[in-house]
Subunit: 402 residues, 2 copies
Amino acid sequence: MDYSRLYSQMARIGVGKPNSAATPAQPDLISLVYGLPDPSTVSTSDLLAATELVLTEHRASALQYGPSQGLSELREFLAERLNEREGLTLAPGQILLTGGASQGIGLIARTLLEPGDTILVEAPTFLGAVRAFRLSQPRVIELPVDGAGLVTEALDTALARLAGEGVRPKFLYTMPTFQNPTGATMPLERRQHLLGLARQHNLLVVEDDAYGDLRYDGLELPSLLALDRDGLVVRLGTFSKVLAAGMRLGWAAGPAPLVRALTALKDDSGTSPYISHLALAWAGGGRLDPHLERLRRFYRERRDAALAALDRYCTGYVRWSRPLGGFYVWLELDDAVDAALLRRAADRLGVDYLPGQACFLSDRGERYLRLSFSFVDPDRIEQAIQRLGQALAEAARAPERR
Amino acid sequence: MDYSRLYSQMARIGVGKPNSAATPAQPDLISLVYGLPDPSTVSTSDLLAATELVLTEHRASALQYGPSQGLSELREFLAERLNEREGLTLAPGQILLTGGASQGIGLIARTLLEPGDTILVEAPTFLGAVRAFRLSQPRVIELPVDGAGLVTEALDTALARLAGEGVRPKFLYTMPTFQNPTGATMPLERRQHLLGLARQHNLLVVEDDAYGDLRYDGLELPSLLALDRDGLVVRLGTFSKVLAAGMRLGWAAGPAPLVRALTALKDDSGTSPYISHLALAWAGGGRLDPHLERLRRFYRERRDAALAALDRYCTGYVRWSRPLGGFYVWLELDDAVDAALLRRAADRLGVDYLPGQACFLSDRGERYLRLSFSFVDPDRIEQAIQRLGQALAEAARAPERR
């Protein structure tokens, strides 16, 4: 494991310093910190076959400069796929290929925000996005999330208050499906309520859908983009979780004028045609859906291992979410547990988690933790959560705190 | 040939509309418009071997998120290579991997420029860069280029004038080696004069070195970065011309604080680790230098074909540069040639070139054309320039103009 890489990822997701335990000195540490996809889910022979296909069938295009908006064949593939599966009517021109969803987030900030603008975000949320937004110095308003995602009543209240002040927020940033970090999914009614409010206030909605393909239970819900009838939603997708994060390939889909504006500020002469061809050769020909089915089985087993271990080892000290998809379980400490003692005990016992503070912009979150089950095999997940249970018991029993 | 791709590239380099002749309706058109590297210079088997190496030896790292600054192994490779070849003492931390040199240009603009800031550029220049700078609304001052590159006396005068006005320009953007579009290379004395002026005025120099590896004649000159003793140069490099533009892989090397600042605004979670590993596997193990030697032979033959054909067919109508490297020959029309008539004749005869206007910010350049010899094989280059010679003869002879 290359730790410099992990630390960099860490900095990105908002943890200032690695845990002292997270150094090579303690090799048995089990980290549930990072939302890393597991590269073992992608087969080397599939990638080699895709590479051969690209270099024989699409050589000149893959090795050459491409359009700023991204390889048209891949945009066509994505548009067709979204249209077929969700009843959309996207044209390829409504899709911009990006260097991961991250670049889409950055482009939205640079395209839309000026210092002093107001934006709305969930709390807790993916702080990497908020940090990218903050480079443009907006005023950021946090809205609460519960077990059913963004609390749209709070959105209603905030929008009414802002309208009263004569403020029109530039956008709402939301993860309606398998939210990071809570794992929560907004039910249809909330989605419709959200879009009704967006319509009423002419509010742009940035839908981050990094995990949407990774549903382990329940029926698929329409995305905000699919429900939108007013051209108010831009959706961010990524190949990071389904192919490989190291490809740095994502996309933004939404109203054509906005996509054009995002493209105009994309100053890297277009996302790599080579990577785009590779992803298309890998995913095309009907190969994506069976792969997604395997992925869901793979990560479902890990989610199930995490939930079973929480039931077994952590009951009585924490409450937690039961995510239907994605990579995360969100834990809230019971009052009896001291968060600082827990951290020390977890360090000593060799388990690491993302402290809740890394998911709130304001000074909150010390009663929460996020566990990622994506990157560790089921046995190690159980072992990690057993250690967490011990740490919880110690942090709850500590005489000076009871 | 995918024309949408060409048109997009065209838009990027500043040509508003394609020539009417540049449509599939006239398949015999020979285009010397674009500075496209020839993908045939990269071997499929080398790329497949590099892919296999990456997927066996560096699988987890290539497929995973990496550091925002870019894969450390590739930054180490680049630093070592630059240090060995040019006597530099770069640390890997002084290198940022980017999505082509384009992204480095965009990051420099976003990091350094605020509306109203002053920057200095060459005229003619690579307008794609100037367009990226202009997104930040600077005041752009053009400095003349002659057969020996940027006229540093003009830089001296401009800096003195600006200092008198109390204006400190944010940077100078220059291509000292095989300049785009003129092909000119600054001799050592000018480089030293330039750096003396930079020191005197504490001026940051952005050295765009996209073509530096492609020298066909003469001795290598030290880059501005290599000559700099004051931490005033940031150099942009790219794999676009030596490996493949479709990879979108470049780098910025310079003072550590500036590289850190550029990294902070790089909002795509780092340039693709997969592509970075692929480039390293392809270039490493001593494979890069023999490849560069082959590339130089390959493009030298094309340059020689272009110059020989110009001698043979175009003498008496135009003067042109004799570039020692890079992709371009720059032509200046003799007074007798009517530029508009030339355009029409060239369209009819089936040869296309980049009009000089696409290389100047101000309303100039109609007496110039840029020919790219990189993308067309030597026979077709000769054929294209023969047609250009006919077009020149017609545009010079036209009775209404004489």
